[in-house]
Amino acid sequence: MVLVLIGFTLIVLIDLVPLIRKHLGHDIIAFLLLFILGLTISILEVSGVEVPSIMLLLGDVLKSLGMSY
């Protein structure tokens, strides 16, 4: 957990801080979208929470629709 938080803090320091200084709104939003998703999945995994596989879920949906080999 500590390593994950250190890693994400480094990413903020390297990439987000310069964006805030330059007031690049679109860049900040794009950064935060990716960052929040990545941080959430990482924390859940490190905490031992089983993150459902989107590929297996989509597979189940397709199978239930009769769309699989």
Partner: protein, 354 residues
Amino acid sequence: MRIDKAQIPGVQFMFTVTCFIQSSSLLTAFLSEITKQDSWLAVLYRTLMVMFPDYNLIQILEEVYSPVVGKTIGISYAWFFITLTALNLSDMGSFSKLTLMKRTPDVVLIVTCMLVMAWAVKYGIRLITQYSALFVFVAFSILIASVLLVLNQINLQNFLPMFDLPAIKYVQGTHIISTIPFGELVTLLMITPNVKLTRRDTTKYLFGGFTLGWITVLVVISRDIAVLGNTLPIFTLPTLVTLRLVNLGEALSRVEILFAIMLIMLLFFKITFLYYVSVITVAQIMKTKSYRHLILTAGALITAYSFTLYPSPLHHAASAKEITPILWTFFEILMPLLTFVIAKLRKLPRGKEV
């Protein structure tokens, strides 16, 4: 607006296409059939590249479907590219752990690779594709050597009986090979503005790369069937098993290391390219000034995401056979085809010769 203004020459583009197909051809567990009909996909992508030489895929979607609808479809493509990157990264981690570094945790291998790839992505498309010709040359050399080394193991009767399977199996095989190695070339539409080529050269280099990749797929699958026969479907990495069978005395055994080198090299190239395309796609959708500030955070997301996709390589191989071809058809065949038809009907791009 273009995010990365670098230009790459046609030959570099051609070897990029070849490398891209070669890297998939080595994971042949889910490839059972090979047909030449897949070249129509290259025709479709080539047509879109020629129609919109200054636009990448997201810009094409916005032009054809309106900015809002185009952006919405673009978001689904961003998910598709990120998922492709994560899937290949997961493959590379599993493979490295299985063959080279058994005691090293997956996460260490994957994070280390991602950091090197992030470095390459930072320098743009020019650097990423710069070594594609070298990779193709090394891959072909190893491929030829591997065929020569297993000549004494080849049993031509393994090709028999022919055309003995139910028709649906041939449809499935064709569908898999269309979507997984060849259909993934849809990612090339994201670098169209970086490849300034005439209509003739686009055809020449795209088909040149496609043909070289196609030859690799054909040779790899034929060699594996000739050596492994009916046992082929039970292995997740048939090529690795084929090369493990090489035994020419004490000196020439354990040559599967050659396959490991080739696969890691080609997968590294493919993942770096997909990583770049994913970052460029997000940057294009969000209309950012530069893509460089998104590289590390996108890399962190892809790394975390790669651990959630499949619990094991067996699940991945099963899904690649049964589900993925159907899922990817939307992004690789239906959307490009629909976009082409609508662009033709709307006579797009306006003011330019098509």
